[in-house]
Symmetry: C2
Subunit: 163 residues, 2 copies
């Protein structure tokens, strides 16, 4: 079963920035990474090959465009899928799923927290946080790593989920 870990943190804490550094480090180590993000509202998607967009506009519940290198799918949903559901229904061929957000889900989480933000870190009140990536002097009772300690963050993920 593909392990799931989610990067959580207040809006603006730098979750995507962390992922942008962490993914290449994991890839460099030979792991195949999937990512998942929840969108709070409706969103639109635009294909360069516009025919699929026309299929959707015409009412297709699911549209796929595929090439030798890449596949894109867009489909209707009638509920917010959990990370487990995303894994079980849609994600194959990867070693780990690193989600962004999904903070209410019962999966292991790594918090990103920057001291410039005038808020309490999530780890003060949220369960399931296995590490905090921060520039603040926190003592959350789980490993604390620096915002640029990408190698150590990857080490922790490998040790916890991929060893």
């Amino acid at each position: 079963m593909t392990p799931i870990v989610s990067i959580v943190g207040w809006s603006g804490s730098g979750k995507t920035v962390l992922l942008e550094k962490l993914i290449p480090e994991m890839v460099r180590r030979g792991y195949r990474v999937a990512t998942a993000k929840h969108h709070p509202h409706d969103f639109d998607i635009d294909y360069e090959g516009k025919d699929t967009w026309r299929h959707r506009q015409a009412g297709a519940a699911c549209t796929i465009i595929s090439s030798q290198k890449r596949l894109a799918m867009i489909r209707d949903m009638d509920h917010d899928a959990s990370l487990n559901e995303l894994r079980d229904r849609f994600i194959t061929d990867v070693d780990i799923i690193i989600a962004e957000g999904f903070k209410s889900e019962p999966v292991p989480k790594i918090e990103v927290f920057r001291k410039i933000m005038d808020v309490e870190p999530l780890c003060a009140s949220m369960s399931g946080i296995i590490a905090v990536v921060t520039d603040a002097p926190l003592d959350p009772g789980v490993p604390v790593l620096g915002l640029d300690d990408i190698s150590r963050i990857a080490d922790l993920i490998v040790k916890k989920f991929l060893a």
Copy 2:
């Protein structure tokens, strides 16, 4: 097993235009339709929520963005997936898959042919064509329907695959 039918025809014959009329007619009749299209080259996809695009750029092999209403996935492939593979791995919850193109695949096909095109219709040499949608006076040995006979085309699809 979800039935598959593919709309085939020379480039410019109006496959997408036909799908744009056919999909709403199928939806109006209560069917859930998936569509699939093959892309001959690489293609790019752009999310309005750009974070997922950043995940891909960073090296994620698969990225999903999901909301309550919609899910989009983009993933790496290492081969051209067949329609059966697309169905088995990625497409759920629909009554029928109407593909566009994939003319070398062993699935039932409906050809779109317009007499203005100075070519032979595919049905002259291709097997698996179950109907021809055309404005030309063809006698292909399978049902011939007009380019705007959307209701009759839907009837044929329902009778053949969904009855």
